[in-house]
Symmetry: C2
Subunit: 144 residues, 2 copies
DNA sequence: CTACTTCCTCTAGCCACTAGAGGAGCAAGA
DNA sequence: TCTTGCTCCTCTAGTGGCTAGAGGAAGTAG
């Protein structure tokens, strides 16, 4: 049996995050020791590893919740799981396309920088006037 | 002079967002009509267009705040502005690299899916066992 | 004058955590 | 036995960048 700290170590998920997942019902409420500490078994460790991995692949928690529900029911068709993954793939591709447009625009902007004063700064100027852009990168989801 | 709705139209920034920007000090408090409505001039329109454009390029509001401070002082060297843009470019590139790894992993996962039952679902299985992954895509920032 | 639209302020919610307060349990060393 | 230091507990609030909704006032067209 693992303490929350050990589970955190084993899965790479931070302790408060594990408690958060419990709170939102993604992980079951674990047994406790006499001193009220959480105790986890192998099943929860696997479940958390699943969550971690899916998060690393960018799945939102709601999708992960669905996937977990499915994996609890091995008789069902996997078409729904496939659809979730496919949706995620589409989202990832869209983000890549958008980010590549941003990257190109930023590179263009920086190439023109003459490192003079702000008054002649291409970076500031380009940001101030969308019309100076090569491509239309606007109207996205607002990445960082 | 523009009403908040007209400013919103002109810049593509939603009305509540404009008020939000004012609240956090990114836009100055505008003049008001007798009926307490906001009235904007050309200067604020330009400032908001700048913010919008920078947001579209993924700059966080804090960077935008810095850039605006700089653009208010045209005598200064633009090296700092350049640095902010360079930092943003690095961040964008890192995100692209990460997303491409995710995309590949998702594609690999989906290719293997035989559309049978959950019990033999590669999607679920792959998510459950990180060791099945081709590359090491873990340890990122948790995209969506 | 009435109906409709735009605007006002204020509060709360979104996602997926993260940080911090204030306290209790527990193991090792002096 | 006491103390030190670590892990753990619960609870609340904060993050970024908005978005949604309540409840009301102002402006405009017919």
């Amino acid at each position: 049996m693992l303490s929350i700290g050990q589970l955190s170590e084993a899965t790479g998920v931070k302790v408060p995050t594990i408690r958060y997942y419990e709170q939102i019902g993604l992980l079951p409420e674990p047994d406790r020791t006499g001193g009220n500490r959480r105790l986890y078994g192998e099943a929860t460790r696997k479940r958390l590893a699943f969550v971690r991995h899916a998060r690393d692949l960018g799945f939102p928690l709601e999708s992960i919740r669905e996937l977990l529900r499915m994996s609890d029911d091995p008789e069902r068709s996997c078409v729904a799981a496939d659809d979730i993954a496919r949706r995620q793939l589409r989202a990832v591709k869209a983000r890549i396309a958008r980010l590549i447009a941003l990257r190109d625009e930023l590179e263009r902007m920086l190439e023109m920088c003459s490192r003079g004063t702000i008054a002649e700064c291409r970076v500031i100027e380009t940001l101030g006037d969308h019309a100076l852009c090569a491509e239309d990168h606007a109207g996205g989801e607002g990445e960082v």
